[in-house]
């Protein structure tokens, strides 16, 4: 190889040529910031982010302004006071029922994740690692099947189910739990992959711990970050769910919002803002959970 380089000095990348060629390169770079690779310049980065930030805050800002707009023109805090006005209670009755139902659904759906999904994920990890792919496939399936398609199948299922359990709103929890599966699965799976549960379990077992103490005092505490994230994200899914409740004609927060939007758009916007903020706080909490991890390990 060196022979070719010596014999054919014209070919571009000989060591002899590389030396002098790189000198003007360094000189040229020295004046400006010595940047290379993928990272953008700080100003470029800021400009893009500020434009994107403004465009994304605009609809939120418009919602805030809209919620203060008076019917007669001008601005008022009246719409916020209306919510607590006993005289208008009847108007907002549906909305409060919807919120109540959705909060109940949050409890049921989180319970489904904790009681059905979590144990099977731990069991698969400990005993049936070969089934892990199957479980992953099942849990991610609701992403491939659109909710609006699943609903076509939910309608006959629920016509049977309502004969057994009644047609109360809480029964929707089973269907929403399925929609929440992919979101709840991921944080727990990531956490499971990061902790060597098998070794931990064997260590605890060899020290004489029974299965329940192992689960309760070894496995679950090590997975609490993933479990907490799964619960928060499930709550966000339930609060934002519209399709299933709408097709199955149950009153939940979102269907009530759509209904009240026709009679009182201001209150619909106020509650949308509150719900978006709540979802944002929940996900921010998940983000902080993730950010703490590297520090606490050091």
């Amino acid at each position: 190889m060196t022979a070719t380089a010596v014999n054919a000095p014209d070919e571009s990348m000989t060591p002899v040529q590389a030396g002098p060629a790189s000198e003007p390169f360094i000189a040229a770079r020295a004046g400006r910031s010595p940047r290379y690779g993928a990272k953008p310049a700080q100003p470029t980065s800021l400009i893009i982010l500020i434009i994107a930030g403004v465009l994304f805050l605009l609809p939120i800002a418009a919602m805030v302004i809209f919620s203060f707009r008076s019917n007669q023109g001008g601005y008022t805090v009246g719409h916020y006071l209306d919510v607590f006005n006993p005289a208008l209670e009847y108007t907002y009755d549906g909305l409060f029922v919807g919120i109540q139902n959705s909060l109940g659904l949050c409890v049921i759906t989180v319970a489904i994740i904790l009681v059905l999904l979590l144990p099977v994920m731990i069991l698969t990890e400990l005993r049936y690692p070969r089934l892990r792919r199957v479980l992953e496939f099942v849990c991610l399936l609701p992403i491939t099947i659109p909710t609006v398609v699943l609903v076509v199948g939910f309608i006959p299922v629920y016509s049977v189910l309502s004969q057994l359990l009644g047609s109360d709103a809480w029964t929707l929890g089973f269907a929403i739990g399925v929609i929440a599966l992919p979101y709840a699965y991921r944080p727990i799976a990531v956490n499971l992959a990061g902790v060597d549960v098998v070794t931990l379990t064997e260590a605890a077992r060899s020290l004489g711990a029974g299965w329940l103490p192992v689960l309760w005092r070894v496995v679950i505490p090590n997975l609490r970050r993933g479990i907490l994230a799964a619960c928060f994200i499930t709550i966000a899914v339930v609060l934002g769910e519209y399709t299933i409740a709408s097709f199955l004609s149950r009153t939940t927060f979102q269907t009530a919002l759509v209904l009240i939007q026709h009679s009182d758009p201001y209150v619909a916007v106020i509650f949308s803002l509150i719900a978006l903020l709540l979802a944002f706080v929940l996900l921010l909490a998940i983000g902080r959970l993730g950010a703490i991890r590297p520090r606490s390990k050091d």
């Binding site: 980065s45 076509v152 299922v157 934002g240 979102q254 916007v269 996900l283």
Partner: protein, 301 residues
């Protein structure tokens, strides 16, 4: 001696340690039952029913005549509407989202800005739905902030709101497509190794050379994979469109019309046919996504 030791081992310790294991093996699978039953009842059966209902008449007899719906000009027009809306919002969302990701690369990955952007993107991408529609009604709806300003400038009749039509939905969809792009494309962009940039620089390449020869080729599978995911996401979303549009125009709204219509009787099974069509499109999209994702994963270690 080793034989003796192993004999003793087999005689004492493994039996004590191993004693629970036959019982464990026998009872362990019982733990899988509750979830399996749940997944079967509320995921398996609904999915099968959704697909199968297209093959039956409302009386319950097997038929393939429902599939004539695919010859219905309205259904075909709405398919084009769905695909057009998904394509437009996926392409624009992917390009703009990638640009935002690029800008985020300049920020501290552990910093507060990243956490806030991630959380906000997650809210908008996954849980916006109806509330996103309201945000746009307040912004560019008939009485929206921007429309009112434009009306003051150009006159009452010169401006009308675009968001109540299918093409206008593209704008609204971008508000969950761009965040989804940020969430899914960011890991790929962060996996670009600084060493590659250093290598290009030491060989005398410019930043443009870096992007042309290294950055773009490596990111291409991830970029197009994410674009397909965005397409699938727009194609399957229902809530935002339902809150804004009442007269149909995309497939999810056709399913709604077929299932809830009280004027046209006997169209329930048309919902099954469209549902099957949607699943076919989604399976094709997600398979393509899987292939591209595997290619992209080669560099993400």
């Amino acid at each position: 001696m080793t034989a003796l030791a192993s004999n003793r081992g087999a005689g004492v310790t493994p039996r004590r340690r191993g004693a629970p294991s036959p019982r464990r093996a026998a009872t362990g699978w019982i733990g899988l039952i509750p979830f399996s039953v749940y997944a079967l009842l509320f995921l398996g059966i609904p999915a099968v029913l959704a697909i199968a209902s297209g093959f039956f008449t409302s009386g319950g007899a097997f038929t393939i005549s429902n599939f004539s719906a695919f010859g219905d000009p309205v259904i075909l027009k709405d398919l084009v509407g769905s695909l057009g809306l998904s394509a437009a919002s996926a392409i624009l969302g992917a390009v703009i989202g990638a640009l935002v990701c690029y800008a985020m690369l300049g920020m501290n990955p552990e910093g507060w800005l990243r956490t806030i952007v991630d959380s906000a993107a997650s809210v908008l991408a996954q849980f916006g739905g109806v509330m996103l529609a309201f945000a746009f009604i307040a912004t560019v709806g008939n009485q929206g902030l921007i429309i009112l300003i434009l009306k003051q400038v150009f006159g009452e009749n010169a401006v009308s709101s675009p968001i109540y039509t299918v093409p206008g939905l593209t704008l609204v969809y971008l508000y969950f497509e761009i965040p989804l792009m940020v969430l899914t494309f960011m890991p790929a962009l962060e996996a670009l190794k600084p060493a590659w940039g250093e290598a290009v620089a030491t060989l005398g390449g410019s930043r443009w050379t870096y992007w042309r020869e290294v950055g773009f080729p490596i990111l291409a599978p991830a970029f197009f994979g994410c674009m397909i995911l965005l397409f699938a996401n727009a194609f399957s979303s229902f809530a935002t469109a339902a809150a804004l549009i009442s007269q149909g125009g995309i497939w999810p709204l056709d399913i709604q019309r077929a299932l809830t219509s009280e004027t046209v009787v006997g169209h329930e099974n048309e919902a099954g046919v469209i549902a099957l069509g949607m699943i076919v499109v989604m399976v094709v999209l997600m398979s393509a996504y899987g292939v591209l994702q595997r290619r992209a994963a080669r560099w993400e270690r």
